[in-house]
């Protein structure tokens, strides 16, 4: 059984590190992209099981991307987990209120990132 994780972040280095962290789990298949617009495209083409979404991105930020995904028939049920450098109790609560499945704060523990993401995958 393998899961498709779409990781969206405008930071190249971090994207690479996060992808490597997630791929430490052999059952996770990771596709990384660098903008909300690309994420919408990949959602249609690649049909991920979960979207890991950076909050602060130029043009379309994380919350805006989430709202666009939710408006697509293919994106209504996919779990979306935010990953944010703006850690704060209030920020996390606001993100959850948008309909996120979870919030992971940067810096993340690379050895635990896959497990954190897995906990938000649908059972099975």
């Amino acid at each position: 059984m393998s899961w498709r994780i779409l990781y969206v972040d405008d930071e190249n280095d971090l994207r690479e590190v996060a992808q490597m962290s997630l791929e430490l789990d052999p059952e996770l298949e990771v596709l990384a992209c660098s903008s909300g617009a690309q994420a919408l495209l990949q959602l249609l083409e690649w049909r991920p099981d979960l979207v890991l979404l950076d909050v602060m991105m130029p043009e379309m930020d994380g919350p805006a991307t989430l709202q666009r995904i939710r408006k697509m028939p293919e994106g209504q049920d996919v779990p979306i987990v935010f990953i944010t450098a703006r850690a704060g109790d209030n920020d996390a609560a606001k993100l959850m209120a948008l309909g996120a499945a979870g919030v992971i704060t940067k810096p993340f523990d690379p050895m635990r990132l896959a497990a954190q993401v897995r906990s938000h995958l649908p059972a099975g």
Partner: protein
């Protein structure tokens, strides 16, 4: 007014005689005066002089066309002069060189006019200050012939010094007040109980953007509020509702503040205050720059948070993967170097987190998750969480808990943060092993959590700055302990915002103890 024109009873020896009374009046040497012996006086003169002698009011009389000067003891007292010399003599001789000024006045009274000369000043010989009198001049007609000529001028004086001085004081106070009001940067407006505007300054007009001359003394303040509301300067919404709410809030007793943003973007802070007598004071401050700075600072904090954390995330993530051997096996040397890099990236992350946390706590932006907390559970959890750190330093951490249950209304995670700060400090300063005790004690109203070590203690000079930001024990280059210098400042902020207090006490015989006092929740 001056004292030159009044006939002063002169005398070379002011204190020599008694003030004039009936006896001394009767004994006066009238024969040497133009009036002659008293028995020969016309009835009306005798009546008038009796009137003067009976009166406690300072008075004088100028009798007949010769203007003979007769006065009473009270009038003498006004001048502080006890001589009887001028009694019964023509005023022209008594007044001397002042006669030129006095004559027209006297002639007017003899011509039939009565009038009051107000606030006439007379020097008070004793205290070098002026006394003030209202002089009321009345012509007296021959009482056998009411239409006939005026036979005397009667002058009744009343002391109005107190009224004059208090009016002067009020005037001075008003001047000081208006000077003050004119020279402050704040806008000031004073509203009477009937809501009329009686005092305002230029900053007030400018803050609200009223035209010069638009504010009129005595106008209804509600009109101005209405004007501002219609322009959208008091926020969005129905102007009528805004005016009603604001008028009601100004009328309410006590004081309060309100912030509005004008349509042109100016931020105004309004303070209202009820004064005695049902008046209201409005003070306006232009806080546009302050608000802009605060917004910029918020943006800066958020940007710094993002801009620092993002590269740190990449660094610590990469080090984490390499350090765990997940990117291939490492030589011993490489592994040691990776550990150093990891430790230091963790330090940087902790510093960024503490900086942001301290800033949020200081600006009151932290929303606490209030809940009822069993403090014994909390202490156990705190000790457990920090045990690995203690073990790494060879320090044992022990909890001492009371038999009683202690429940506080507080934020669990924030209290754990405080405990982590205090315990890690205690471990850090327990050089080369030792013991840290976390003790919970309870009395009727409060709980005390004490974290005690037997380490190197805190220098006397440093104790006062212990809870300040960036104050670190041993701030010199020789400093061996690592930390952000923010832990105690953050802990203090948290504890105080949770309604408690924190303080330091030296451990006897050696070491440091921090006490956190928290109010107990009712139950």
């Amino acid at each position: 007014m001056d004292s030159d024109r009044l006939p002063e009873p002169p005398g070379s020896d002011p204190a020599g005689a008694d003030l004039l009374d009936r006896t001394s009046f009767e004994r006066h040497d009238w024969e040497s005066t133009p009036l002659g012996r008293r028995e020969t006086w016309p009835r009306q003169l005798r009546f008038l002089s009796d009137l003067l002698l009976c009166s406690k009011q300072p008075m004088f009389l100028l009798w007949s066309s010769e203007r003979i000067f007769i006065y009473n003891g009270a009038y003498q007292a006004v001048w502080g002069n006890r001589s009887h010399e001028s009694l019964g003599r023509p005023v022209e001789q008594v007044a001397g060189e002042n006669w030129g000024q006095l004559k027209p006045l006297v002639d007017e009274v003899f011509g039939g006019s009565s009038f009051v000369e107000r606030n006439f000043s007379i020097p008070d010989g004793i205290e070098h200050r002026m006394r003030y009198f209202d002089l009321s001049y009345t012509p007296v007609s021959d009482y056998d012939d009411a239409d006939g000529p005026v036979v005397a001028a009667l002058c009744i004086t009343s002391d109005v010094t107190e009224q004059v001085l208090s009016a002067e004081r009020m005037q001075q106070e008003r001047e000081i007040l208006s000077l003050t009001v004119e020279n402050v940067a704040e806008g000031v407006a004073l509203i009477e109980p009937d809501f009329s505007l009686v005092l305002w300054n230029e900053p007030f007009r400018l803050h609200f953007g009223y035209e010069p001359g638009q504010i009129q003394r005595g106008m209804n303040a509600a009109e101005l509020i209405q004007h501002s509301a219609r322009r959208g300067d008091l926020g969005a919404g129905d102007p009528g509702t805004i005016v009603a709410a604001l008028v009601q809030s100004i009328r309410a007793n006590g004081s309060g503040t309100l912030e509005v943003q004008r349509r042109n973007g100016t931020d105004l802070k309004l303070l209202r205050r009820s004064l005695s007598g049902g008046r209201h004071l409005l003070v306006s401050q232009d806080v546009t720059d302050e608000r802009r700075t605060a917004r910029l600072k918020d943006e800066l904090v958020s940007t710094v948070s993002h801009e620092l954390r993002t590269p740190l995330s990449a660094i610590s993530g990469a080090l984490g993967i390499v350090g765990a051997g997940a990117a291939g096996a490492l030589s011993d040397k490489a592994e040691r170097l990776i550990r150093i890099a990891q430790r230091n990236s963790e330090r940087l992350i902790a510093l960024v987190n503490d900086l942001l946390d301290a800033d949020k706590l200081r600006s009151g932006k932290v929303e606490f998750q209030w809940e009822r907390i069993d403090l014994a559970d909390l202490v156990r959890a705190g000790v457990e969480q920090n045990q690995p750190y203690g073990e790494g330093a060879g320090v044992t951490i022990e909890a001492e808990l009371p038999a009683e249950r202690a429940v506080a209304h507080a934020d669990r995670n924030r209290l754990l943060q405080v405990l982590a700060n205090l315990i890690s400090n205690a471990v850090k300063f327990s050089a080369g092993g030792g013991e840290v005790t976390v003790r919970l004690a309870v009395d009727a109203r409060a709980a005390r959590i004490s974290v005690a070590d037997r380490g190197i203690g805190v220098d006397e000079q440093f104790r006062a700055r212990l809870f300040e930001r960036f104050s670190q024990h041993d701030g010199s280059a020789s400093r061996v302990q690592q930390g952000t210098g923010l832990g105690l400042a953050i802990s203090k902020s948290i504890v105080e915002q949770l309604g408690g207090s924190i303080r330091f006490e030296p451990t006897v015989p050696q070491g440091a103890t921090f006490h956190v006092d928290l109010p107990l929740s009712d139950d």
